[in-house]
């Protein structure tokens, strides 16, 4: 599209704004529902970075593994995909714990570059394991209520997306509560503020790190369950999440759960409104421009702190 096209599109938008009034509600709904999901996957990525200074490049694939757990169980025993949520949470929790304890902990002192390289490699290993088990085909769930929706004030709200949104928000709020109000949560936060001091206070750093990674992984697993309810997955789908993971985490402020919640919704809204105002071609450009602006003008993000945690 040329600049003149862009101008014309904007003028059209202004002159047609009455027609668009009833669209506005729908776009808001779309943005919020998508944003809830973004928020939660963003949180799962952000806590590992914020607390452990590790960029987990395998997080996208861990999400996909959660999706595969749901797919396998619901296909093998016919369980409703939503009911597999606890199973994918538990299995990914264990996987995350093992990965941190036996793989990442070995090089955790190596710094950001070494751990990033490691998680990059880990991502390839996980993708290939998924390829071996589930092959390269797309897998999807298709429960009977798929695609059903209801209308509120002219806006169509799909049931599945609404439930996904609610679960994502609940999990995020629960995690915030866990970090603030429980002893384990406090010890994780203490470790992130000052690992040495935390160790002197008797906190087992290795265990705390494993636990943090496991929680992030479990949250990712839960998101995988929700994701496969909306979209089909293949072992390579995980890579598609990375830009969202980074955007939500950076915009919200690394390690900040409430920040991720806010930025997830903001990003969902930006996506939805950029399609309406500028066209789908500009959706990702708008998203990336915001991401870039945040990095330049607000590097700590919306709710970032000098200390993480």
């Amino acid at each position: 599209m040329e600049v003149s096209d862009f101008f014309e599109a904007s003028m059209n938008f202004i002159s047609n704004h009455e027609k668009r009034d009833h669209m506005l509600g729908q776009v808001l709904v779309n943005g919020v529902l998508q944003g809830g999901f973004y928020a939660c996957i963003g949180v799962s990525f952000s806590i590992v970075f914020g607390i452990m200074r590790i960029i987990n490049l395998a997080q996208g694939t861990q999400i996909i593994l959660g999706a595969y757990v749901t797919f396998t169980i619901s296909h093998l025993i016919g369980l409703d995909p939503f009911l597999t949520l606890p199973i994918s949470i538990v299995s990914l929790f264990f996987l995350g714990y093992m990965i941190q304890k036996y793989v990442i902990n070995l090089v955790a002192k190596g710094g950001l570059i070494i751990t990033s390289l490691l998680t990059f490699g880990l991502n390839l290993v996980l993708i290939n394991i998924a390829l071996l088990i589930w092959k390269a085909d797309f897998k999807a769930t298709n429960p009977w209520y798929m695609g059903m929706s209801f209308e509120v004030a002219g806006a169509t709200i799909p049931y599945v997306r609404l439930i996904i949104f609610v679960i994502a928000i609940l999990l995020t709020v629960f995690l915030e509560f866990f970090f603030r109000k429980t002893e384990t949560g406090n010890s994780i936060r203490a470790t992130s503020l000052n690992p040495k001091a935390a160790q002197l206070m008797g906190i087992d750093i290795g265990k705390t790190y494993s636990l943090t990674f496991a929680i992030s992984s479990a949250l990712g697993g839960a998101m995988g369950t929700l994701f496969i309810l909306a979209k089909p997955v293949s072992p390579f789908t995980g890579g598609d999440f990375l830009i969202i993971l980074f955007s939500v985490a950076i915009l919200g402020g690394l390690g900040s759960i409430e920040g991720a919640l806010l930025s997830g919704i903001i990003l969902g809204m930006i996506e939805a409104f950029s399609v309406m105002l500028l066209g789908i071609e500009y959706q990702k450009i708008a998203l990336n421009l915001i991401y870039l602006s945040i990095l330049i003008f607000l590097p700590k993000g919306l709710m970032g702190k000098r200390f993480y945690g």
């Binding site: 799909p158 939805a272 399609v275």
Partner: protein, 410 residues
């Protein structure tokens, strides 16, 4: 002195005669004449992003090799030659595929090459084959750009991507009530853009009005924005161009947001075997192009469309996928060309393909100077009650389901 020179000369002649004979024995011609074998190399995607389709093409190759060897092999200048295949896995990576193609030609010294799966990879391997003067028959690579590089040894089994969905516009324009408007939603990708450009152009020619055109980037998973806009515009025809996951997300969300049209299409996806299992009854009514279908009625030298499928079914207990049919027919084309060339000389095989005008179980083959098959026309299927039914070319007793009932009434 003269006597001595004569002796030397005799000795020289004998020795050079022996050397020549030895060279001849060592030469590949003599060896192949003895063993009467043709080595064919293929680098296809057995793993990676395109593993599913790549393996189906490979299955087509394998089945052809088994079939042709069962018949005594390929006839080269009156002598039957058994076929021996060498496969490599290109992991769906163009660079790897190009390297493997070079290895096949220079190290494995194959006689012939059968092409990889997909336009992106064929673009890379054909450049290598061209460098060594090797013919590439690309079974499933119909991106127009692949054939616009002035290559002389590259041939496409299929018609070009811009032609892919033209029959959809033609079929739709004949329906009553006649559709008036269409919307295009397309993935910004070399595979999908040309097919959508083609169907868009044809639709405009047929008097349809374009009321929406949206191009979405790779990795888009949320289509609610586009669908909200489309819902307001109420197009009669909805042309969707994207890969498998894109199409699944798009149509699911169309159902969620209750976005209706009189007819829907996809680029290939609804013709894919996985579409039926993933979408179940929500996948009904959607159109797609297929390169080949068991219900086509082509006749060829060895098989008709139906007898080829029967042969396949007997062997594997299922219909041949169109990917496998593409692989199988690539083998048949190679065999017909060698038969006509009477030699394994690449330039003679190329000339034989250039001059070819023949019908096979797959359809007709006639190549232009760029190597495009100008006679192939895609089949169009519509998913009807969970089956991909061939609706174009038209057949008696088969009807397009039109207009498609709204989501809420299904």
């Amino acid at each position: 002195m003269e006597d001595c020179m004569m002796k030397n000369r005799k000795g020289f002649l004998i020795i050079s005669g022996l050397v020549l004979a030895f060279c001849y024995i060592l030469s590949s011609d003599f060896v192949t004449a003895q063993e009467a074998k043709i080595r064919i190399g293929a680098a296809v995607s057995m793993t990676g992003r395109l593993a599913k389709e790549g393996n189906l093409v490979k299955k087509g190759y394998e089945t052809w090799v088994e079939w042709i060897n069962g018949r005594g092999g390929i006839n080269v200048g009156g002598r039957p030659h058994q076929v021996e295949m060498i496969y490599y896995d290109d992991k769906a990576d163009p660079t790897t595929s190009a390297k493997l193609t070079e290895k096949l030609i220079t190290e494995d010294r194959v006689n012939l090459i059968l092409g990889p799966y997909s336009s992106g990879i064929a673009a890379a391997t054909s450049a290598i084959a061209e460098k060594y003067g090797f013919v590439t028959i690309a079974p499933v690579a119909n991106g127009d750009f692949v054939y616009e590089r002035g290559f002389k040894y590259l041939f496409s089994v299929l018609s070009m991507a811009t032609q892919d969905l033209i029959p959809v516009a033609e079929v739709a324009a004949k329906q009553i009530p006649k559709p008036k408007t269409f919307a295009v939603v397309v993935l910004d990708h070399v595979f999908t853009l040309p097919s959508m450009e083609g169907v868009k152009k044809r639709s405009l020619e047929l008097g349809l009005e374009e009321i929406y055109y949206g191009k979405f980037p790779v990795n888009t998973t949320d289509f609610s924005g586009i669908l909200t806009t489309i819902k307001r515009k109420e197009p009669d025809l909805l042309y969707f161009g994207g890969f498998f996951p894109d199409a699944v997300s798009f149509y699911r969300q169309a159902k969620e947001l209750n976005v209706n049209a009189k007819l829907y299409t996809t680029t290939g996806t609804a013709g894919h075997p996985d579409w039926l299992t993933v979408m179940k009854k929500d996948g009904d009514y959607v159109l797609a192009q297929v390169t080949w279908h068991p219900d086509m009625i082509y006749k060829g030298p060895f098989f008709t469309s139906a007898s080829y499928n029967e042969f396949w079914k007997k062997k594997y207990g299922e219909d041949s996928s169109y990917f496998s049919a593409c692989g199988f027919v690539a083998g048949i084309l190679m065999q017909l060309a060698i038969d006509k060339a009477g030699s394994l000389d690449q330039s003679k095989i190329r000339d034989a393909l250039r001059g070819m005008d023949t019908e096979t179980f797959f359809g007709r083959f006639k190549f232009d100077e760029k190597g495009k098959n100008i006679t192939h026309r895609m089949g169009i299927v519509q998913v009807q009650a969970g089956k991909q039914v061939l609706i174009d070319p038209p057949r008696p007793g088969v009807k397009l389901l039109y207009p498609v009932p709204p989501w809420k009434e299904r």
